[in-house]
């Protein structure tokens, strides 16, 4: 006979569910050794545990790519969709079921390239969801092709003599989209910062967009610094409404004070070459209307009988 620990016994008697990390663990992750995706996964799982999120209340939606395997490793509901279209499926889930929480994971190619249209419009809808883009500046699953965020001059399988296009400044793009309400950037190798950013995004009502800088240990170890050393021009953004900057980061990179509610200041930071990798909350505006709420506000809840009555009124208009 199994014996229950006292704690478990009390929980069971009082019907308190105390979620542990294991409750959020799905399949064993199959990313490459040293991949930043592991850190993001455990960060999300920790946040769920800390927040005691009911696993059945979450739908994790992804596209195609290494990052898009994410839902398989998370024991919530998960939809591993098709390349570039995660935002559309996620929008559908939230419009269909506002009671569910939606988490989107995409890669840089997935979001900024093939899913470009859905990315821009998804930001404009400002549907209530958390969007994490794992940006390793490369197409990795298809084995080393140039992505929109690959730095100019990078040698890849499709640009063996160096890529010719300058990398896309995705932050400045997003700051130009009407209705952007939460835009943060963090990195997979700054765990404390990553955790705090993901948590802030989770609590934001509206589309919380988090670009997570990371390296692909196989194809882009040079991303954001040489030889795996973080020496790229990083800047931590500090603001009382933003992501707290731990003491430990002070040695890593400069810190600047930035009012995250100031869109123009955010644009300036995003455009400045020397702060091309600002870490923190770039822009935050909690008063932007949330698409699912706007739509559901006009969709009034009626009983089936009332619906039949109203449908009959419509039919009256067509009756001879």
């Amino acid at each position: 006979m199994e014996t229950l620990q006292l704690e478990e016994y009390i929980e069971e008697q009082c019907e308190i569910k105390n979620y542990t990390l294991e409750d959020y663990e799905g399949d064993v992750p199959r990313w490459c050794k040293g991949c930043g995706d592991f850190g993001i996964l455990s960060s999300v799982q920790k946040m769920f545990r800390d927040e005691q999120v009911a696993p059945e209340s979450v739908v994790a939606v992804s596209g195609i790519g290494c990052s898009s395997r994410f839902p398989h490793y998370l024991n919530t509901y998960g939809f591993h969709g098709i390349h570039g279209r995660a935002m559309t499926i996620a929008t559908g889930v939230k419009l269909g079921r506002p009671d569910l929480k939606v988490l989107v994971t995409m890669g840089d190619g997935d979001c900024f390239s093939i899913g470009g249209g859905h990315w821009l419009h998804g930001m404009r809808y400002n549907t209530d969801m958390t969007v994490l883009v794992f940006d390793n500046e490369i197409y990795a699953l298809t084995k080393n092709q140039v992505s929109p965020t690959t730095h100019c001059g990078t040698s890849t399988n499709t640009t063996p003599h160096g890529s010719v296009l300058k990398e896309m400044n995705v932050l400045s793009v997003m700051l130009g989209i009407t209705n952007v309400s939460f835009l943060a950037q963090t990195a997979s190798w700054t765990p404390g910062h990553l955790d705090k950013t993901i948590r802030a995004a989770w609590h934001h009502k509206g589309t919380a967009f988090v670009r997570i800088l990371q390296k692909c240990p196989i194809f882009s170890p040079q991303a954001f610094g040489q030889d795996g050393k973080v020496k790229a021009p990083f800047t931590f953004l500090r603001d009382e409404n933003g992501i707290p900057v731990d003491k430990v980061f002070e040695k890593m990179a400069p810190i600047i004070d930035h009012n995250c509610k100031d869109l123009e200041a955010a644009k300036k930071i995003a455009m400045m070459e020397e702060t091309s990798s600002p870490l923190g909350l770039l822009y935050y505006n909690p008063s932007i209307p949330v698409y699912n709420e706007e739509l559901h506000a006009t969709a009034d809840k009626i009983t089936p009988e009332e619906k039949v009555a109203r449908l009959n009124e419509e039919l009256d208009k067509y009756t001879i």
């Binding site: 209340s57 559908g92 619906k307 067509y318």
Partner: protein, 619 residues
């Protein structure tokens, strides 16, 4: 004055055309409505200008309505036009060029152009009318505008009512009902405006009485049950609400958009949502996500939109998510003929996705079916966890038909979204070996957490590359079609149950085919027809039905090579879409007759094709 001669008719086709903005649409709709109230069945087709703001007095500016009136139920637009009321000769010319007019057509035209200050207009007016006259037309040149101006200053705001009065006389309509109808149109305007319009109507009636020495009588008995008149897009939209759809995700595309306009209107009052997505791909993505989360959702599009949705169609099949996609077909390929009918999307609907993607395809044959098909489509989508594509077309979308008012009940609505706990160990794809069916788990159900993936997967929903598992998953998805097929009835055969020729079709061409079959049978020919409501899976018993006839031929509106075209022979001929499917399905040598005129085929054109087929020596 002599009593006009009464000409009794079983049916007639009348057109009312004018420049855009001159009010033919409004007047013709009133005429149709009054005819329906008196008990005539009808099918009306809108005549839409080819441009947004066309220059007046050109062929491109022609706007109006074509109304087929009958003492019997009508399922299509019929043959050539018998009567045309036109406000200028270019409107008339557009109908001549469209080859829509009978040789002995009765034309009522405003005679003001005969004395126009512009010589070119005077000349073309005379030439067009003379040409028609030599072909046998019966032309009445009437001072419509001049007479209108005896009552009002601006003839543009009233000559449609005068013309309506003339039609009222010509077809012996009940002028009291017509006057009431006019008052109801202007019910928000002052009594003076209502009185003026009724006076114009009476003026028209008297004008026709002085000019035309006969009247048509189409027997009519008021309907015993309440009837509704609407177009196919409105029927799809109302049917969708009645079926319990609560969300629609769409992207604008002709000729499908008006269905979503109607839905936006209905959902606004009935608790639903219409999401206009950023593109066709997003439209289906949102619909899929919403249905995956348990909300009955549909998307409505047309051919080019279907092409863009292809990858998502495959995802829907792979994930066994219920979804209903309505494709209001138009002319293709590419942008093709955006406002015109074609039945060109059958094969692409079936086969566009990479790999094998079994799905259900249904096609309503008339506007009444556009309504009812939506209820069946949702039920199949959910019970079988399948993609259901409903193929309507531009003809159904814009035509108006009368049909018995549907009875509504809450029974066609879905149950509330299931939030009950899932027993531990339940698999998201717990396929039944026999039927391929499995229970759908809906996000939010405690204990049911599982992954839905576009990759091949095991019953547990886990990514799986095992050869046997891929074979099994394919087999399970295919079995569902078989399970559905078992529940389908053998299709009804119209006309002779055995004989010389069977005509097979799908969609809105059924009506004209059945009329052609009627006419051939009146001549003693042994002909039958069958229309397929399900194109995937095919209903049972087709081979057996085919075996009862010497010849089998498909008639449909997509392209095929004609036998007498250069270089066409057994080796080279490209068959029409349904015939291609039926040939492989039944191994019967099914022939085809198909056209891509951008309009429905007329019963008489089908009659000719069938007669030719019957006369052929070989199969």
């Amino acid at each position: 004055m002599k009593e006009p001669k009464k000409i009794k008719l079983e049916e007639h086709i009348v057109e009312f055309v004018c420049d855009a903005g001159e009010g033919a649409q409004k007047a013709a709709v009133s005429f149709a409505k009054v005819s329906a109230k008196m008990g005539n069945s009808l099918w009306t087709v809108e005549i839409i200008p080819s441009e947004i703001q066309p220059p007046p007095h050109t062929m491109g500016s022609t706007s109006g309505n074509r109304i087929r009136l009958s003492s019997k139920p009508v399922t299509n637009g019929g043959n050539l036009t018998n009567v045309v009321v036109a406000f200028n000769e270019m409107n008339l010319l557009s109908r001549i060029k469209g080859k829509m007019l009978a040789n002995d057509v009765v034309v009522i035209i405003d005679n003001k152009w005969a004395n126009d200050s512009d010589e070119t207009i005077r000349k073309q007016y005379r030439e067009i009318l003379d040409d028609l006259k030599t072909k046998g037309a019966n032309i009445y040149e009437v001072p419509i505008e001049e007479k209108t101006m005896t009552l009002i200053d601006n003839p543009q705001r009233g000559k449609n009512m005068v013309a309506l009065g003339m039609l009222g006389y010509l077809y012996t309509r009940d002028m009291d009902i017509l006057a009431d109808e006019i008052r109801s149109i202007f019910k928000k305007k002052s009594k003076e405006i209502q009185d003026n319009n009724v006076a114009l109507l009476t003026l028209g009636y008297e004008l026709a009485k002085e000019t035309i020495d006969f009247q048509y009588v189409i027997e009519s008995t008021p309907f015993k049950v309440p009837m509704v008149a609407m177009n196919g897009n409105e029927a799809v939209a109302l049917g969708a609400v009645a079926a319990g759809f609560e969300h629609c995700s769409m992207y604008p595309i002709t000729p499908a958009t008006s269905a979503t306009h109607a839905l936006s209107e209905y959902f606004g009052r009935m608790g639903g949502i219409v999401h206009q997505a950023e593109d066709e791909i997003a439209a289906i993505g949102v619909a899929l996500g919403s249905y995956y989360a348990g909300r009955p959702t549909l998307t409505i599009t047309s051919g080019p939109g279907m092409a863009l949705k292809t990858e998502f169609l495959g995802l829907t099949v792979m994930t066994e998510t219920p979804l209903v996609v309505v494709d209001v077909q138009r002319g293709g390929p590419s942008t093709g003929l955006p406002t015109k009918i074609e039945q060109g999307d059958l094969l692409s609907s079936l086969f566009s996705t990479p790999g094998d993607a079994p799905k259900v395809i249904m096609a309503p044959t008339d506007i009444e079916e556009c309504y009812h098909v939506m209820i069946t489509a949702r039920k199949i989508a959910e019970e079988f966890r399948m993609l259901v594509i409903v193929l309507t077309d531009a003809n159904l979308a814009t035509g108006t038909q009368l049909y018995p008012r549907p009875k509504l009940s809450t029974e066609s609505f879905p149950l509330p979204i299931d939030t009950s706990p899932i027993p531990p160990g339940t698999k998201p794809y717990d396929w039944d070996e026999e039927t391929g069916l499995s229970r759908r788990i809906i996000p939010g159900q405690p204990g049911g957490m599982c992954r839905t993936t576009s990759l091949n997967h095991s019953p547990e929903g886990k990514v799986n590359h095992d050869p046997d598992m891929n074979q099994k998953a394919h087999r399970m998805r295919s079995r569902k079609l078989m399970t559905l097929q078992k529940s389908l009835k053998k299709p009804d055969v119209y006309g002779d149950k055995e004989g010389d020729l069977l005509v097979v079709s799908w969609g809105s061409i059924k009506g004209p085919i059945d009329e052609a079959v009627d006419n051939l049978r009146k001549e003693g020919k042994k002909v039958g027809s069958v229309s397929l409501q399900f194109l995937s899976p095919f209903p049972p018993g087709l081979k057996e039905i085919f075996s009862k006839y010497k010849k089998v031929m498909v008639v449909e509106l997509n392209y095929s090579d004609d036998w007498d075209d250069p270089m066409v022979n057994e080796d080279t001929r490209r068959y029409s879409q349904l015939s291609m499917l039926l040939r492989s399905h039944t191994l019967v040598d099914v022939d085809c007759f198909s056209r891509v005129y951008g309009r429905p085929l007329m019963p008489m054109e089908i009659y000719d094709a069938l007669s030719k087929k019957l006369a052929q020596k070989s199969k």
